[in-house]
Amino acid sequence: MLRPLFSSLLAIALALSSAAALAADATAPEVVNPVGQWDGYEMIIQADVPLRGTLRQVFIDRASAAEARRSGELPYGTKIVMRDYIGVSDGKGGWKTENNRLVPGQPTVVLVQQKERGWGTTHPPEVRIGEWEFGLYTPAGQPIKADFEKACMPCHKQVEATDYNFLVTNYFGDIAGK
């Protein structure tokens, strides 16, 4: 009498756990939150938007940077971190520069692009960008919800040849002579 009941309960439990696993699989993995961990990163590129006075400072975790300088490629574990700012006004209708680069003023967002083995499987193939995932944070480190499949991936899909990023692979490729 107990055995059929136990079997039924076991079947229900298995079904529920499978459903939970599927649900978990449908959620993209979370990238690191770099805010407050800046010692682990180095800045490699500043990307200016001079016509509207915003800028982006591009960082990469130090371990991946060391590997990329040797190989010209971004290894698993790479964390590209982009810190966006509004530029400082020059008081004459333009934007203040130092060394011909915009000067960062108020920070706006922190964007992360991270590559890990096996990531990316939750995205449809037409937008999936290899094993990369994105994350967005406030300057204080609070997560911001965003639809990365619409906001980021379609453009990054265009640059598969440079590992789905626009600047960083080229930067290290030039250093490594690739």
């Binding site: 990307a47 016509l51 680069r101 030039d174």
Partner: protein, 114 residues
Amino acid sequence: MRMLAAALLSSLLLALAPAAQAADVVLNVEDGKFRPEAAKMRVGDRLVVANRSENRLSIWGHAGDWAFDYRATQENGWTHEPGQSLGIVLNIPGKYRIGNSLDGKMRATVIVEQ
């Protein structure tokens, strides 16, 4: 005496000669390509990208540790409407890759010399 006068006149003419003017270098976008696909300019010249196509563009450039793009409004998805021309003065020498985020096949190379 004549040589001295000639030297003075020559110096005066050099001093009055206008400094080299900054120039516009134009990359046109048509048929899914930059035209020309390679260009040279001097530091202080302005790189103008003119959209001669029917599509929106998202144009960026990169050399070494500096990059730029042509976003001019709060819109992040593109830089150029069809028919629009935008220019940026380049003050950092280098060999720039120029691309379009909305079409990964489009490429140009612009060398900015000191």
